[in-house]
Amino acid sequence: MGIKIKQSKSGLYTSFIILAFICIIFLAPFFFMLVSSLKPGQELISKGLTWKMNFDMMSLNNYKILFFQDNRYLIWYKNSLIITALYTILSLFFSSLVGYGLAVYNFKGKRLIFFTVLLVMMVPLEILLLPLYRLMITLHLMDSYLGVVLPFAVSPFAVFFFRQYIIGLPKDLIEAARIDGCNEFKIYFKIIAPLMKPAFGAMFILLALTSWNSFVWPLIVLRTTENLTLPIGLASLITPYGNNYDMLMPGAVMSVIPVAIIFLLNQRAFIEGLTAGSVKQ
């Protein structure tokens, strides 16, 4: 007995050391980004990202440029915030409605629609880039917030998630409300939606993160500098001719910090949103 406990203890130490080592490696990029954001951009280009710390080179000068001298960064930040908010709200609203419809009613074509939701999940949007781009031109949605958001306003993943969640809710609530004379919309908004708060929380975080970091589609839709989102704006700074390199690293750092704070405060919702999709049968 005594031996067994000793063994598991040394096992614990080994696990701890392995994990601590790997965590340090995984966190190192954040540290180097932070250090590099304090050095002049020219140094980053001429020497690469280096671990040498010369403290006399470091200053908050880059952050001054970012927030006070070059106004592009704040504009991109604002665009990212608006697009993320717009996408998240639209997508939560529509996806939960669709999920509710699929969970509560029996109707002709229900299986077909559910199958289609799964099918859409299986096809990467990258395949649709060109035809969608042409469609955006036809609909005059190029270079607009709505153009970024609208094609994905119903997230099949969220529909799937909400459907599963609503199936798990007690159905007699709905029957009782019907007998009381509530109409179908009222049942959804007054009775079911309030019960879905945890589900909304989990999806909110997942959808907002996806939108905040999304790259491929906004890259195609957004054209003018004033309309870019953060990832596209940052990518646009890397040009062989420009001398915008001062903004690169601090810009990257500042785009991660708010997300990291939200994550650290709401870890449980993050993890629920993520694991919602994995098959647990």
């Binding site: 180097f32 690469g48 060109l130 035809p131 119903v154 790259f215 098959v279």
Partner: protein
């Protein structure tokens, strides 16, 4: 007469309201947003991609039908490179991103381990970065200069410096490193949730039978995690074949010797840099076929697993 009319309209409005509010009509109103988005932004683009792939598109209005010519033109070294990069990248990321996070998740799934929540959060943090932000770090860490981070590291062992982002193998390595850094924490979360749903009694009865740690891992942990592993493989295949942003973060849309050219970067390059929409659509259609074939194979394997 007036009064009669008013009653009549009221009744009619009431009847319409009742029809709409019935369980026959309402479900369609609820799912309508999906149907509209699906038809307009999914089905229509897919059909038009297939049509475009048989056309030579020079500009709006200047379109000629050219049969399978775009598909025949796919038989070129660039397309082969793109296929090679996409397949290899998908294969390598799966080969690393299943066992590595799985082992870490098993280590983390121990109640007596100190700081397990901190470890889990730390490993998850990279998943919060966008590909561009992460790519920005790795792009300059993989710099060609001897002072760049990865050259400094291999310098300790007396190697290098290497021009990382200009070689075929080192370029692929850089892509895989970026992906592993961003995804390890996510897969750990998946595996942990799977591990936590394995009934403890299974391990206890194995203990009584005198099974060692490795035996328990192979005979209990892995089989119980099969659904999660299949799920992770599915999303990894999906992510692997649609990879583009990582390559864009390193090389924008053109890389030396096509070392970063994936199927999607090839679509982007021919479509948006060379305005050759028909040809780009043909690449997209082949990518769609590849993904569908892999999906079908996976569903079969999944069914196969279900039987035993």
């Amino acid at each position: 007469m007036m009064v009669f009319d008013r009653v009549n309209t009221k009744a009619r409005v009431k009847r319409i309201y009742n029809t709409i509010n019935s369980e026959r009509v309402m479900p369609y109103i609820f799912v309508l947003p999906f149907i509209i988005i699906f038809l307009l932004f999914f089905l229509y683009p897919i059909i038009s991609a297939v049509i475009m792939s048989f056309q030579d598109i020079r500009g709006p209005g200047d379109v000629t039908f050219i049969g399978f010519k775009n598909y025949i033109n796919l038989l070129n070294p660039h397309y082969y490179s793109a296929l090679r990069v996409s397949f290899l990248y998908t294969f390598l990321t799966i080969a690393i991103l299943i066992p590595f996070p799985l082992i870490l998740a098993v280590l983390l799934n121990n109640k007596f381990l100190r700081g397990r929540n901190i470890f889990r959060s730390a490993l998850f943090l990279p998943a919060l970065t966008s590909v561009i932000v992460a790519g920005m770090f790795f792009r300059y860490a993989f710099g060609t200069q001897p002072t760049a981070l990865f050259n400094q590291i291999i310098g300790i062992f007396g190697l290098g410096p290497i021009t990382w982002l200009q070689g075929r193998h080192s370029g692929m390595l850089a892509l895989v490193v970026l992906c592993v850094w961003r995804w390890t924490g996510v897969n750990i979360v998946y595996f942990l949730s799977g591990l936590q749903s394995i009934p403890r009694e299974l391990y206890e009865s194995a203990d009584i039978d005198g099974a060692n740690g490795l035996q328990k891992f192979l005979k209990i942990t892995i089989p119980s995690l099969k659904p999660v592993i299949i799920f992770v493989i599915t999303i990894s295949v999906f992510g692997g074949f649609s990879m583009f942003a990582e390559s864009f973060a390193y090389w924008t849309s053109r890389s030396p010797g096509d070392i970063g050219l994936t199927l999607v970067s090839y679509i982007y390059q021919t479509g948006f840099n060379y305005n050759n929409f028909g040809f780009a659509a043909a690449i997209g259609v082949t990518l769609l076929i590849i993904i569908m074939i892999i999906n079908v194979i996976q569903l079969n394997i999944f069914g196969f697993f279900k039987k035993d």
